[in-house]
């Protein structure tokens, strides 16, 4: 990875020239290359200082991490900040006192709680699950921060030597049991996630991971060469927690999904199959298939003749991916950036939710420069390393997986079918009727909380207030007597779309307020929002409310929900900087569209 003969000074100078000239995007591209060539303490100091110079010029999201620890982590903090900067996050890092993590967690007035972290990393390698439980109890009562919990590591060589493998009450068994306890503990609490530190050290080789000299002199157990690997592992958690994830991955075809060029080499000539060299490309396809099952959409963007490429996609025997796995296809001779924007529009996601995979460094650079919001996966030279590079990319990580996620790819295939039908159907009303939609509104419960919180995190377009709630915050809201949380399910003739809407109503007295009202883009434009409002107003009226009020808070993305209030006869109350406030007299019922069957299930609380 590192080249001892590199010339570090010219790239540094070029970056400084670009910053001075105001070419911030080009500077960020070069900083990414620089960081890849020198991901250590000196490189981190350079990257951080340059980002600090540009912080006002770049769209960086602030985020806060507290690292509580049983070993020296100070040298890791600047590396973590550098990785985060390059992911578009301005990270504030609080490092706890040495080996004081338990006391710090148990004191709700202490520095950790005052820091108000978004996430707490528990880099603790010698604790018992029982002790951890006591600490997590206090943390969960006083903070909704996410928690990243390190597992305990097996010894490089057990104290009993090879005897350890022969006996029942072994050091190995004790370590396995402690880790099973930590995993079980994490599943009990919302927002507590396990980082398998034992597997991380094993993956890189325990012997080389450790540095006995640094451990004995500075209580720093990780060798200099592996500091970047520790930081990258933390980033795999920070990406999904901070919402820096790709919802779709757009892949090139020639020399990416198969070896060779289909237009030149033909069906018989391209490399794709279970034997080398085709096996390398099958490994890429397997990684993409794994992403697909994680709920990440797949799309193709390739400069090719469509007929040639489709023949390979449909009929090549080595293809693990089939046309049905792809939610969008752009096979033409246009430039990649406009094609990527079209794909984002077709999938109803914004460009910053796209990742781009292409073997050609020129195409990658063009996308990095022209569409800086797109995550460009930097592929190594050798195709045999492509699959690993994809699996290492943190934007594809997920910490929870709902049934909806696993089905998402199919929804989009259904959606393509639905759109075909829309084109065939004459009037809009006829189209709505032909969908045979069934809408079910239920109070949120423990089973639906995770998905509901996820929707508040991800939904940008049909979202009146764009308030983001973590699972912990959602749980707190649902326990409060002042709020009612409802979820919406939509079924139609094609599929059960699953849980696609969330509403949070602040209740009490005669005037209720809409805290949150959102609909997943998957069902936007099918009048289900009217059915949802109809059900909610019915519930509010039954509970004694006379008026329903709500804010529309405009964002860069929620224009599709802008006319929701006027369309449903809300009266404008006031307009201020942050948005407009609306009210509806509940004496007049909101009718459910006649083409939707509305069901209300379950009692609140």
């Amino acid at each position: 990875m590192k080249d001892a003969g590199r010339k570090p000074v010219p790239l540094r100078e070029q970056i400084d020239r670009l910053i001075a000239a105001g070419s911030y995007q080009a500077a960020v591209c070069d900083l990414a290359d620089f960081w890849r060539s020198d991901p250590g303490p000196a490189g981190a100091a350079f990257v951080n200082s340059r980002f600090e110079q540009m912080r006002d010029k770049l769209p960086l999201d602030p985020w806060r991490v507290a690292i509580l620890r049983s070993f020296t982590v100070e040298p890791l903090a600047p590396l973590l900040r550098a990785e985060a900067f390059l992911a578009g996050i301005e990270l504030a890092v609080h490092v706890g006192e040495f080996n004081a993590w338990a006391q710090e967690l148990l004191d709700p007035t202490g520095a950790v709680y005052r820091f108000a972290p978004d996430a707490v990393i528990l880099a603790v390698h010698d604790c018992e699950p029982g002790q951890m439980r006591a600490c997590l109890d206090v943390l969960r009562r006083h903070s909704s921060a996410h928690v990243i919990l390190h597992t305990r590591e097996a010894a490089v060589v057990p104290r009993r030597g090879i005897l350890d493998a022969q006996i029942e009450v072994s050091e190995w068994a004790a370590q396995q049991k402690a880790n099973a306890g930590l995993r079980a503990l994490a599943r009990e609490y919302r927002g507590v996630y396990v980082l398998d530190y034992d597997a991380l050290a094993a993956r890189h080789g325990r012997q080389g991971w450790h540095d006995e000299r640094k451990w004995l002199t500075a209580r720093m157990p990780i060798s200099a060469a592996h500091l970047p690997d520790m930081v990258r592992e933390w980033m795999r958690f920070i990406h999904p927690l901070a919402g820096k994830v790709a919802k779709a991955v757009v892949v090139d075809l020639d020399n990416t999904l198969w070896g060779g060029a289909i237009g030149e080499d033909g069906m018989a000539g391209i490399q794709l199959g279970s034997e080398y060299p085709g096996a390398a490309y099958q490994a890429v396809q397997r990684a993409l298939l794994d992403f697909h099952e994680r709920g990440i959409l797949l799309a193709v963007c390739s400069k090719n003749n469509e007929v040639d490429a489709m023949e390979a996609l449909e009929r090549h025997p080595g293809m693990l991916l089939k046309p049905g796995h792809f939610a969008a296809l752009r096979i033409n001779w246009e430039e990649k950036p406009p094609n990527l924007l079209e794909i984002a529009a077709e999938l109803n996601i914004s460009a910053n939710a796209l990742a781009f995979v292409d073997d050609n460094p020129v195409e990658r650079r063009q996308v990095r420069m022209q569409l800086p919001e797109v995550t460009v996966v930097e592929l190594p030279q050798n195709p045999m390393d492509y699959a690993q590079a994809l699996r290492d990319c943190p934007v594809f990580e997920r910490l929870t997986l709902s049934a909806e996620d696993m089905q998402r790819g199919r929804y989009y295939a259904d959606e393509r079918e639905r759109r075909r039908l829309e084109q065939r159907t004459g009037s809009l009303e006829e189209f709505y009727r032909s969908l045979q939609q069934e809408v079910e509104i239920t109070p949120m419960n423990a089973m639906t909380l995770g998905r509901a919180a996820q929707l508040t995190q991800k939904t940008n377009q049909f979202n009146l207030t764009t308030r983001r709630y973590s699972e912990q915050e959602m749980a707190a809201i649902s326990r409060s007597p002042c709020y009612r949380v409802y979820v919406l399910r939509v079924k139609d003739r094609f599929a059960d779309n699953g849980l696609v809407g969330v509403a949070i109503l602040q209740c009490g007295g005669e005037a209720w307020e809409i805290d949150t009202f959102l609909i997943s883009c998957r069902v936007v434009g099918r009048t289900v929002e009217t059915a949802f409002l109809s059900g909610l107003t019915g519930q509010a009226r039954q509970a004694g409310a006379r008026k329903l009020e709500g804010w529309f808070l405009p964002t860069a993305k929620n224009a599709p929900s802008k006319d929701f209030y006027p369309r449903h006869h809300f009266q404008l109350v006031e307009t201020i900087d942050k948005g407009s406030r609306w009210a509806l007299d509940l004496a007049i019922p909101v009718a459910c569209p006649p083409w939707i069957r509305l069901n209300y299930a379950g009692n609140h609380h």
């Binding site: 250590g40 303490p41 100091a45």
Partner: protein, 82 residues
Amino acid sequence: MPATITERVRVIAADLFHLAPERITEQSSPELIEAWDSVQHLNLILALESEFKLQFEPEEIDLMKTIGDVSALVTAKVGHRR
């Protein structure tokens, strides 16, 4: 043309201590550079170890009082390896 060991040490120190490379001299020391505290000393050791693929003994770390000492030590260790 690959940079010399002394130049590479200077660039690393400049990055870590947020100074222009010209400001780093043979005589630069923790007394003269405010940013060179114990945490940055550990960072310097780790940066040198990964840049030059070597490992320092605790006794060697104690001898690194100036950038001149650091360059000399790294040069000796890299030379010894060859």
